[in-house]
Amino acid sequence: MVHRNSLTELAAGLRARTFSSVELVRAYLQRIEAAQPALNAFISITAEQALAAAAAADRELAAGRGGPLAGVPIAHKDLFCTAGVRTTCGSRMLDNFVSPYDATVVAKLKAAGAINLGKLNMDEFAMGSSNETSWFGPVRNPWNTDFVPGGSSGGSAAAVAARLVPGATATDTGGSIRQPAALCGITGIKPTYGRVSRYGMIAFASSLDQGGVLTTSAADAALMLREMAGFDPNDSTSVDAPVPDYVAELDAPLAGVRIGLIKEFVDEGLDRENELRIRDAVKVLERLGASLREVSLPNLPRSVPVYYVVAPAECSSNLARYDGVRFGHRCKEPRDLQDLYRRSRGEGFGAEVKRRIMTGTYVLSAGYYDAYYLKAQRVRQLIAADFKRAFGEVDVLVGPTSPTAAFRLGAKTADPITMYLNDIYTIGANLAGLPALSVPCGFVGGLPVGLQVVGPHFAEGRILNVAHHYQLETDWHRQSPERFA
């Protein structure tokens, strides 16, 4: 029953030697194996390496050593490079790719003592909102396996929601941590752009991608993020500023904290039931001493079109390296260079990835650059300015994470635009580089929905603090799908 413990409790239990890391890892590996046919959350399970690492962690713990996460099992979204372990990015293109190095995030969590149990399923190259674009098949929502878990970090979210791991790494380019967190009833934080190193995190859209965590609580997220964050000389866009102790900041009182409800997010488009859950959640925060006002960010509704210019533009260039020459999928018997490129890429990439590469190539082309890419960058500045203005009035912004609860598999695959609108509430924080999280705030039709909290740059401590107080008052985050109890 160890899986009923939070990540924080597991770390403490290991240190107190209530249980060993090997016991813990065995228990979780059993759960993973058992749930895999139903959920398909993992692409690779690294049982052998995990058990060896757990045994080593136990020796450290026995000697009174070991980092803050010593012996704690976790798993990585399969776009974090892991030395000697296949890293697929959910794509046929990298089906055979074994990374020769560890991503900085992987190395940091290893150094903190965490044990990696495997690599988590995801939308191909993190492009998707339902985890249906993975070459390795869709992930299913543990609350109801006919429904999607959200994406692109669907494997990470499903695994944490089903308590297959107490915490997982994930990435968020337009909502890929927060939206699946909401749809799976767990907690997920996307930090400030530059807070967590992108080195070794396979790029989708470099100016938007940010690594973060999925856990069952804000307190666990604080602990795991503290170990992951920090300046990395290998990432020029990582920020050289000390990492605060997010765990220590959790308990700061909420009295006097100014909360802004984003007006544009509770207008039309939001499911009525979902809106009620958000309004209930806000009342809880008010009861805890926070003050509430409604705040308008007039340019925010333009997030989706801006995002679907900027992200594809960057992706069209970032994915050019997958050409069948040095690594990854290579077509059989290429006739010549053009044939090698065309078939390797044609076979290696799925439909959604191709759609975005084509969109991105188009918006960067001579004659279209100004009208699309440049204009999108200008609107992006306006959106960032809206947030800046809002944070002059309030300390954090709140609103829904996703317009609806989880939808059925296949419900939106035929219409990319409907699928893209899933990220309408989450994209703004990426465009502005802001920290944002999602916490479970109730159910709609038996499926979880999430409350989103957005803070100013580097205010991870503050938004975790708000989320933590909310979770002290509510138990949505303690509920888990019965099937995986």
Binding site: S99, A103, S206, R321, T361, S365
Partner: protein, 497 residues
């Protein structure tokens, strides 16, 4: 090329100079030339999934050195952009370069042409970028090999204005840039290894027209001689084409040095749309005043400054000063020799007269340059053992103090070059000391007069031309050692009788 008389040539050059950093521009891999294929390609150079570029500050410093040396504007903020295209030797599928905001803009270089006239060539911009790898086609059958050792080597691309009007001007400009980057120690200038190469944009227009003609770009030329020949060929081709009713098309061409011609590589329609956009993996390069001042303070004496000083302090002609300062190593060698000459006399700090400065210049630019050329050696190698400055100074000292004549000096130089002995040893062992004893010269003259009574009679009868005959005969009798000035004087006295 008389048929060109009605046409004006317009040339602009894009010079690629590899920066002499120890590691690559965006990775820690070494940049040394000649390693086994792909031995110096890191995961970053290979464009592996997840890797990120980190800018090498030394490359930035070198670009700023260049910018300051050409009096350019140094951008306080410059931006790296991605130039997207597919090629096997371009691992990421894009080259990181600078596009809209280059680090260096609006400079100029003054060039001295062969006829001594000067010309200012504008430099539009110089930007930082990474080099691509190399595709190898030889010895691999149907396959193409890819060597990524060069991928990620830092380059500055120096883009000139279309200011040059002949192949010779283009070469003079390219040589000037070559001299400058080597002075600045930012590029080794090795053209065989591809450290310094250029693309030439060439067009022609009717004389007097102020509209530019359609240009062709000749790619990747890696020698001064080829630049000259390629441009000459291209100019003739374009003129012939137009005069025979054709039209020049905008295209990229390659120069084939074996055939001595350029041929089409791809036309404008086939050109890539590079889809440049700012690289989101790199922050803008921000430079503050303090950094720029620090780089400015560290600049060496530049070629133009050095040449001006050589002219002023040593009394050398502009041409000689230009030749001697064409490379920093040659200029240093010249100054070391010149400084060592008075030391031969046991004097220190003595100021040399202008004639010795010129004598030194003549020996360095004449005998020494010829010997280096002959054996394809460079000054840095020979100054270590074969011809240290002090040894050459010994020869110049003996010429200056009249121990040997200028003519004998050439013989002594060759003996020194061949055997590595000092001038004094050679002069003594070969008995080359100049005869300055009036009595000895007089005796030789008398013997020659006695042996050639016919010529003597003719001379005295008014055949003045025979004076030279007598100089030659006496020189022959003294094995060339008679002091020429003294000999002249004594002959004038003695021949008339």
């Amino acid at each position: 090329m008389s048929h060109e008389s009605g046409w004006e040539t317009v040339i602009g050059l894009e010079i690629h100079a590899q920066l002499a950093t120890r590691s690559k521009i965006f990775s820690g891999a070494a940049t040394a030339y000649g390693a086994p294929p792909n031995a110096q390609a890191s995961l970053i150079d290979l464009g592996f999934p997840g890797v990120l570029p980190v800018l090498n500050r030394e490359a930035v410093r070198m670009a700023v050195r260049f910018g300051l040396a050409i009096g350019a504007r140094i951008a306080r903020q410059s931006v790296f952009a991605r130039k997207n295209y597919f090629y096997p030797d371009l691992p990421k599928g894009y080259q990181i370069s600078q596009y809209e905001l280059p680090i260096v803009a609006q400079g100029a270089l003054d060039v001295v042409l062969d006829d001594g006239s000067g010309k200012r060539v504008g430099i539009t911009r110089a930007h930082l970028e990474e080099d691509a790898g190399k595709s190898l086609h030889e010895g691999l059958g149907a396959f193409t090999g890819v060597d990524l050792n060069r991928a990620g080597t830092p380059l500055i691309e120096i883009v000139s204005e279309p200011d040059m009007r002949s192949a010779k001007e283009a070469v003079a400009y390219m040589k000037k840039v070559h001299t400058l980057v080597r002075y600045l120690e930012i590029c080794d200038g090795n053209m065989q290894e591809g450290s310094f190469r250029c693309d030439a944009n060439v067009s022609v227009r009717p004389k007097g027209s102020d509209k530019l003609g359609t240009r062709a770009e000749i790619k990747n030329i890696n020698s001064f001689r080829y630049v000259e020949k390629a441009i000459q060929y291209e100019v003739a081709r374009q003129i012939e084409l137009i005069e025979s009713g054709g039209k020049v098309v905008q295209e990229t061409r390659l120069y084939d040095p074996d055939k001595g011609e350029t041929r089409s590589m791809r036309t404008k329609e086939e050109a890539n749309d590079y889809r440049y956009f700012p690289d989101p993996d790199l922050l803008p390069v921000a430079l503050d005043e303090a950094f720029i001042e620090e780089v400015r303070t560290g600049l060496p004496e530049l070629p133009d400054q050095k040449a001006a000083r050589f002219s002023k302090d040593y009394g050398l002609s502009a041409y000689d000063a230009g030749v001697l300062t064409a490379s920093r190593e040659l200029a240093d060698f010249y100054e070391d020799v010149r400084r060592a000459v008075p030391l031969q006399r046991g004097e220190t700090g003595a100021t040399l007269d202008v004639s010795t400065s010129k004598l030194t210049a003549n020996v360095v630019m004449g005998d020494l340059a010829a010997a280096l050329n002959r054996e394809n050696l460079d000054i840095l190698t020979v100054r270590e053992d074969r011809m240290p400055p002090t040894r050459l100074a010994g020869l110049i000292f003996r010429t200056a103090d009249q121990t040997i004549s200028g003519k004998i000096a050439k013989e002594v130089f060759e003996a020194m070059w061949a055997g590595g002995e000092s001038a004094d040893v050679i002069i003594e062992s070969k008995g080359l000391r100049q005869i300055t004893d009036t009595g000895a010269i007089e005796r030789a003259i008398e013997e020659v007069m006695a042996k050639n009574p016919g010529q003597l009679a003719d001379y005295r009868a008014g055949k003045d031309k025979l004076f030279g005959f007598f100089v030659g005969q006496v020189m022959k009798a003294t094995q060339g050692k008679a002091n020429p000035a003294q000999l002249n004087e004594l002959l004038k006295k003695k021949l008339p009788g």
